[in-house]
Symmetry: C2
Subunit: 249 residues, 2 copies
Amino acid sequence: MKSTPILLQTQNLRTACANCSVLELCLPIGLNDSEVSRLDTLIPQRVKVKKGASLYRTADPLRSLYAVRTGFFKTCIVSLDGREQVTGFQMAGEMLGLDAISAEQHACHAVALEDSEVCPIHFHQLERLASQIPSLQHNLNKIMSREIVRDHSMLLQMGNMNADERLAAFVLNLSARMSTRGYSSRSFVLRMRREEIGSYLGLRLETVCRSIAQLRKLGLVHISARNVDILDMPQLKMFIAGCHRHGPE
Amino acid sequence: MKSTPILLQTQNLRTACANCSVLELCLPIGLNDSEVSRLDTLIPQRVKVKKGASLYRTADPLRSLYAVRTGFFKTCIVSLDGREQVTGFQMAGEMLGLDAISAEQHACHAVALEDSEVCPIHFHQLERLASQIPSLQHNLNKIMSREIVRDHSMLLQMGNMNADERLAAFVLNLSARMSTRGYSSRSFVLRMRREEIGSYLGLRLETVCRSIAQLRKLGLVHISARNVDILDMPQLKMFIAGCHRHGPE
DNA sequence: CGAACATTTGATGACCATCAAAGTGGGTGG
DNA sequence: CCACCCACTTTGATGGTCATCAAATGTTCG
């Protein structure tokens, strides 16, 4: 464990959702100016999290939810006997900590995969404010629901797709999220190691490598180290729809 | 497809959460009497769903969430190329439809596995009422969060457990939920077929059979047709904690 | 009671995990 | 700035687990 629990606090000046680059992806989406500034009051200061550091750990009491402002996180759970499962990767505009609401304590471990910055939102204050701002409550409901839909899609991948298909779906998912944030959907950089991709997809890291090689051989993507280039987006989408030969012919 | 979309409507008399046997497990938990009766007003009538019938289908517009009053459901999603994944089994006191909030339409297909009864709760009315009753909103948040935690636990099972362990975890999960509802945790009846268990666990039905045989051979459970008897609860729990020999010695 | 459906068990093979070793790249300190 | 080192990645060889195909047995319900 080289992760350090140190959270660097920054910016005593009032933070402002209104100026945030992911305003349109995040909790305040659709709120009017006055509502946004009321939400701002729940975020006294942003918090920087160094690469490799934990934002929170399993069983930490729920204090805040966290909106990722910049950077990249993974969340993982660990079974009683130490088996680890990455449950998600979170990028700018996405929320961390939703699984803590259920038992008032975090059910997973959140680690920054690069130097990152989050907006902590005190949860009980958020609930109170949400009861006064219907669209804020609705946004929170939608964000939680979206996470449920995403998880179900992962279950489909783990239950019904082979290694190559899972990797293709993973790459396409990242691609779509990059695109939503205004980055290229064709070319981007992976923030996580092969082992973490593997854990997320229910595969070993060697299998991830082999699937990368396979997709490259098919001319669908080129992945070298952490650099991803999607060469044939339509075919890649066809690939996960099962429209490809399962035999090598 | 033999499922019929017919929903039999019953009971014009006012329904009453207050008299419901799963009041303490369901959305109204912790509400006071007056709050419960306000929630009641959102449930004009209960709906019966025959075994094999669909409560809703993928892409149906979100109208209501559904609390299961009696019976048993499965939810499943289908990929573009027709691969099916069971995403959950729901019993009395559990909510159906949470995944529809995200896109205002259902993301899965809900089918009754036995004659069942649900309480439809008009979602937009629920949101409005929840903004007036903080503990109702909090309950909804907790229920959604619990679903997220459950899904993450399923991902751990699919990603890190072998077939025998998944089946053991599945049986233990049902056992705990039966117990919560006042039924025996040691002896109960499965409502789903082997194929549905398999889909849920990311296994083929034949593998489910073999894992059942394996757990029987180890003296942990006896499963015959749909009847489950847990013979050694502590050992069964140890089993999924990885505290068992992986080789046959 | 019988037909349709569900479950069980066996035989075989595919896919992926495991073990092993070589190759690559990034960060750090000299 | 370069070289070294360590962590990460890639590729190969082998075996185990689970999927597939097949056939027999059991169960349910009209």
